[in-house]
Subunit: 353 residues, 4 copies
């Protein structure tokens, strides 16, 4: 085993590159994981485009699984050699927000999201995990790493989108956009017992995946007023809507399409929307129509990972149709470029090590 | 159309018989439905056995669908000829318990359950529906009556069992007994996104149905300590348990098998248990282990029916494997006898008109 | 008893006047109440100003209590002569939204709000109540009409504002604006066990009332950045905020002042805000800070009224310091003018009959 | 400062005594607190009586506050000299139950309760705190130690009893027994906005305290059937009941007195009840009356303590009328004897150091 590793780094506005780095070491309570599988995330594309400020040289990536390589003093739940998955969000479990039940907001808004934003990411041959006992989750025997890796962000984010949407058993839900997060929200809507799942998506390949994951109806935004179509299909508005893009048009559509008493669950990242999001008063019911707007960031921690991987291990969910491309770490630059340009019908490229 | 109808009546302790009755008429706000399909329910077996006191001559049955035959003054939501389903529980939507959100308890404990208990049941060629605007639900086009009829009690009761159990996405749930209600709870557990569904059942035919509806593991009570096996399988107890039988042994097993912080959801009718149910203190965690025990009666009303029938119409749920027997109303006495004796692998006998 | 009555009517944009009208009669299920006490509401000021379109001649008012004067066919819960209170919102208890638990949205957005908007209001010597069994609540013996009348709208709206805000026991809450609804939200915050209640208000008389009702700190908007002061006082943002004005500035301030994981509860009517409300992305945490925005309209129905009047009858809440003015129905035009111009420190003028 | 300290120890069945011990030291992540004020708890009386098995020599006590004396490696939230309060329950914030939101059940049933049960208690001049960053809470300036100490167990336990009871705003609640936990539940019922608080208690001194803390009605168990009186007073049963004794009679009474759809919240420790608690089927509504039974153990952690102390510091709650006796650590044996014998109207004896 060499002392250096390959990793994907942010090299200044719009630029990424494979770099050579020292393998990190584990402080008290921490762990180092040797990576086996990673997914490239659109969030990193946003970061590289300048939406989230990070220093030059910072490693990218937050969706990786692997094998425990080193554990720091005091770590008791895992040992070297164990197969583990780690969420994109790695809370400490101790701060006020964690104690209040909002561990994604560990230490402050979005504060549980440490990879890339607060420290090096994990699109690397090895990566560092803080608060290892809180964050390392064993990958169940028989569950492949390349499946487990979907629990790190896509499934956790998409499914919380549908959980937060308060979908009644047999209720109606509309999900705006069917990228990997939206598709995962569709999986989540099915898991929560929706009676009618409406997906909004224009790209044919994603429309097809959407149906495969549980959408009953797919509306193409090019077909006219989406919200009106949803109101029509649901006789007055959907019980629940999920905004999985992060855009004024989809947010506004979701707000219109939500029935009185219903919930709009936002998991889209609105960094590209400009400085504000606007709510038309009629869509919002003048602020008195019992509509709820909830938001969240990918829930992390060991327990969340265990539960998501149980769904995978027991065959309740199969996210692998989202894996449109596969490549080794040496091809990651090309994978990142494809992801940036949304080329070749790409949804999620899997990187192997 | 004759002025009389055939119906199944309670004829004194342990006795039932097909009788001739006048077709009922609709008062203000009420409706009369001409029946097309019914299911025989174990609750009626209990009633005939004397567990629930009802006067001799009272008609039995509470799981029926049909066509609107007559509407009373002031009914606006339906018209004669519409295909409709009516839940076993028919609240008025007005009493304090209804306003508090507990419409099954309309007017008092279990008070929403009117068929047979408070007035004639609906195992009859025609039946009366109180508060028709609150209770009549249109059967969606394309949904067969013999499928829709499962929403009247089995699916509503079984699924609320799993809804009330607070199953976390990817969590573990154990369901005690796989009769028609337990099987419906298994359907419900899958609908709520359970990661591991454990069913407890000894009858081979029901074990097979259980797996078909979503159970990952089936434990035979004859195999030894059921609760211990569940604790072992779930590493400390299930997040959620459902008691779908109504029996000291299953209740106690469910309480042991529930992890600290978990929920035991009771939908079993304990009328046969004797005058008390007992909680061992260690199973109950000395009253301090954050275990919750919740109970419910079949939720009724139009909205509940619409949501359940949406699941059926959109192919999310197919309960028909539970229909083990089919017969005309003229054979209903024989069907009732088979149900009482649990003969011939019977789960639900469908009565057609 | 004469066949006509005095009532306050909308007489075209910006104009109101006392008019003579026929006393209404009760249809099936309805009731007529002879009024004893009413309050003038800012909502009516908005309506008269043209924010809500109503036909000329429509009677105003929705906060009135009195004595049952006539009951329609089928009404069973009350009889002529009973003292009763009726909420501003009078749902039917039957529609899908009612069955879903959102009775304020009866039949559609804000649809439970019938007085003035859908039919004549109740600033009149007699008024009509739909669905009387659902909506008439007995005034407890010993509770004065002029106290009970606060349950009709102010307490129901203000308190739901604080209920919806999910205030943790001992948590922090900031309430934006201390008009009658905001003051009632302050009462509600105390009732929910807030540990620190921060009120935002500039008018000295209202600041004083606010402290009297339970505010620990009052911030004057003239003192600088309100949200920053709240973030400072609460070490990172309030657990809960209540928007009780309906204005871009207060909404935005509330959104900034809400901590990650916290809830902004809107009860302000945004009809004056213009066609949109805008959320700055940093205040909204990019749509990912687990901030919830909930909205509601005054909850109605008999049970709600019974509970609120129990608080009043048992001395848990005394709203009467809000009654800044009293007058007979003959002076109601002057009262309305004072309310429109916010003259003479007016909060709520009580009208007696 | 000497190297030894005085402490109260369990000296075998039924015996306690003041002993001399070495002052403990802080390992990584831990802290040592120098005690300033403690309360004697009935739980310790139970332990000494043999209900909870602990080794001879184990120190007693779990309600203490003081000043940080030593911090272990890695502790960042506090420094030596800070005034701090520590809950009776000290979770690690990391285990599955903590991550699931049930930190009182840290590591297993009742597992967060470490003092006395898993390690030495804190009725001692110095005491050890595990996971200090999770558990040490600063005492607000101006809040006296002898008030703050009520947050350690009494208020946290009693108030969670009322929080878990789902008391509707303006709803009815009955609290069974008015010892220190029951009195704190009464405080909690008021904090949650109950409209009618019924307390059940026979001891005159406690009846008086109960009224002082917010009870509207006090029922003496000697007056006849308590549950029937509650059903009568609440027109069908209380919305919520709290069992604060841990006894078959009170539990059964609470179950009868809970209305359909209501919640029984248990915070009584049932160790004295014998091996089981029994539910009469009619009280339990045959397992179908939508009655919920919830249980809990004192919630711990820093955030809980901060919120409770905010209530104390801002004058929302004053528990000090419960302090019926005061003494120095040298008199603690006598205090313990008085507590065991419920002598001299004792509720809580405060020990000063």
């Amino acid at each position: 085993m060499s002392d250096t590793m390959k990793a994907l780094a942010f090299l200044g506005a719009g630029k990424v590159g494979l770099v050579e780095r020292e393998i990190p070491h584990a402080g008290p309570g921490d762990a180092i994981v040797k990576t086996t599988a990673s997914l490239i995330c659109t969030s990193d594309v946003h970061t590289v485009a300048g939406l989230l400020p990070v220093p030059e040289g910072r490693l990218l990536g937050h969706e990786s699984v692997g094998v425990v390589h080193e554990v720091g003093e005091g770590v008791t739940s895992m040992k070297v050699g164990d197969r583990v998955a780690v969420n994109a969000v790695t809370p400490d479990g101790t701060c006020d927000n964690c104690q209040a039940g909002y561990s994604s907001q560990c230490g402050g808004p979005l504060g549980g999201y440490r990879f890339t934003v607060q420290k090096d990411g994990n699109m690397a041959e090895y990566f560092h995990v803080n608060d290892a006992d809180y964050n390392l989750a064993p990958i169940p025997e028989g569950l492949a790493d390349e499946v487990a890796v979907y629990a790190c962000d896509m499934l956790s984010t998409g499914i919380i989108g549908s959980e937060n949407a308060n979908i009644p058993i047999g209720g109606t839900v509309a999900i705006f956009a069917q990228g990997a997060v939206g598709l995962s929200a569709t999986i989540g809507a099915k898991l929560r017992g929706a009676g009618l799942v409406i997906a909004v998506e224009g790209i044919p390949g994603r429309q097809e995946l959407s149906r495969r994951f549980g959408a009953d109806v797919v509306i193409d935004p090019a077909s006219g007023n989406v919200a009106e179509q949803i109101v029509e299909l649901t006789d007055g508005g959907a019980d629940s809507t999920v905004e999985a893009l992060g855009n004024q048009v989809t947010f506004e559509g979701a707000l219109y399409a939500t029935r009185p008493g219903g919930t709009l669950s936002n998991v889209g990242y609105h960094g590209e929307s400009g400085p504000t999001v606007t709510m038309p008063l009629d869509a919002w019911g003048l602020g008195m129509a019992s509509k709820k707007i909830v938001t969240d960031l990918c829930p992390g921690g060991r327990l969340r990972m265990e539960r998501l991987m149980r769904l995978l291990a027991n065959g309740k969910v199969d996210p692998t149709p989202m894996t449109t491309h596969r490549m080794g770490i040496d091809q990651v630059e090309e994978g990142f470029a494809m992801m940036s340009e949304k080329r070749d019908g790409i949804v999620k490229p899997l990187i192997t090590f």
